[in-house]
C-alpha cells in the first residue's frame, strides 16, 4: 500500500472551485463560511482528487517533466497508437468514480492518503474492443488516523480510441 501526504489548502480549494465554475462563497469567503452550519470553508465534493498533486507515483503529475512524459506516452503515429497495448497511457480512461464522505474537508487538515488496488475484470466493449477494468481504492485519514473520505476509481484500458 502506497502512502503520501495531502495538506488541504485554502488556495487549492479556491482554484479547484474556480475550475468547476462554482461561485459558492463557502469555498473561499471565510466570514461567510463561518456563519454557515459548516463553520468554515469546506472543499467541493470532488476536491480530494487534487491529492494527485502530492502522489509521487502519479503518472500525470505536474511536478514531473511533462514534455518528457508526453514523449514517453505518445507513440510516433496514429497507427502505433491504435495497436498500442495496456502500457499506452493514451488508452487509459476513467470509467467510474465513487466517494464516501465521513467528515468535511477543511483548510489546514493534514491528510494521509493511502492507495491500494481493488477488483479487476474484463469486458467486451461495443465501442472500444476488449476493455480491461481495474479499481483503485484510496483512503484519506486525518492526523488522528480517523477516516475522512474513501475514493474508489475505476480505470479502463481500451484496445483502441473510443468512438464517441
Amino acid at each position: 500500500m502506497a502512502e503520501h501526504e495531502f495538506p488541504v489548502d485554502r488556495s487549492a480549494i479556491l482554484t479547484f472551485a474556480a475550475a468547476i465554475g462554482d461561485t459558492n462563497p463557502i469555498y473561499w469567503d471565510e466570514a461567510y463560511a463561518k456563519a454557515t452550519p459548516c463553520g468554515g470553508i469546506v472543499a467541493p465534493p470532488t476536491f480530494a482528487i487534487a491529492s494527485a498533486h502530492w502522489n509521487p507515483h502519479y503518472v500525470f503529475r505536474g511536478v514531473r517533466k511533462i514534455p518528457a512524459r508526453v514523449e514517453e506516452a505518445a507513440p510516433r503515429s496514429e497507427a502505433a497508437a491504435r495497436s498500442g497495448g495496456g502500457g499506452n497511457l493514451a488508452r487509459v480512461l476513467h470509467a467510474e468514480q465513487r466517494f464516501e464522505y465521513k467528515k468535511p474537508l477543511h483548510p489546514g487538515m493534514r491528510l494521509i492518503v493511502s492507495t491500494r488496488p481493488g477488483k479487476s475484470w474484463e469486458k467486451q466493449g461495443k465501442r472500444g474492443g476488449t476493455l480491461q477494468f481495474s479499481e483503485t481504492v484510496t483512503e484519506y485519514r486525518d492526523e488522528r488516523g480517523e477516516l475522512v473520505l474513501v475514493a474508489t476509481s475505476v480505470g479502463v484500458v481500451t484496445a483502441k480510441a473510443v468512438e464517441s
Binding site: A90, R98, Y101
Partner: protein, 141 residues
C-alpha cells in the same frame, strides 16, 4: 449558490426533480484550469496534437472528473454544503470543448433519519448522457 439556510429532509419528497445548466459552450480554458487544479496533466485533455494524432480522438476532451465536479454543483446547490455522505458516477460519454451540459437530479428515497438518495444524470446539448450516478446525503429533519 447555496444559502445559509439548510434544506430539511421534510421539504423533499420522492420524485422531486431539479435541473441545472452546468456549463454552456465548455471552453478549452476551463479544461486547462481543471488540469491545473486537479493535478491531472494527462496530455489527452490539453494537447491537441497528442489527442488527435497519437491517441486518435477528434480533439482534446474534458477530464471525466471535471464533469463529475460540475455535476456535484447540482447536489451542493440543492442539498447544501457538507451534507453529502456518498457521491458516485459512471462516465458514459466524453465531453468535448463547445459542449453544453445540463444536470438533472431526482429524489429516489427519503429515510426517517433525514437521509436522502438522489439519482443524478448529466446530458450534453444533444440530450446524450455523459455521466450517470447517485448520491446520498443526510439532511436535518
Amino acid at each position: 449558490m447555496s444559502g445559509h439556510a439548510k434544506l430539511q429532509a421534510s421539504a423533499l419528497k420522492v420524485g422531486d426533480v431539479r435541473e441545472q445548466v452546468l456549463v454552456e459552450n465548455l471552453s478549452r480554458t476551463q479544461i486547462v484550469m481543471y488540469a491545473g487544479a486537479s493535478g491531472d496533466f494527462n496530455p489527452i485533455h490539453h494537447d491537441e496534437t497528442f489527442a488527435t494524432q497519437a491517441a486518435g480522438y477528434p480533439s482534446v476532451f474534458a477530464h471525466g472528473m471535471l464533469t463529475m465536479g460540475l455535476t456535484g454543483r447540482l447536489l451542493t446547490d440543492w442539498l447544501g454544503d457538507g451534507v453529502l455522505t456518498e457521491y458516485g458516477v459512471r462516465f458514459v460519454k466524453q465531453v468535448f470543448p463547445g459542449d453544453t451540459l445540463t444536470a438533472k437530479g431526482t429524489v429516489t428515497a427519503i429515510g426517517a433519519d433525514g437521509s436522502v438518495e438522489i439519482e443524478v444524470a448529466t446530458v450534453n446539448q444533444n440530450g446524450e448522457p455523459v455521466v450517470a450516478g447517485r448520491a446520498k446525503a443526510v439532511l436535518p429533519r
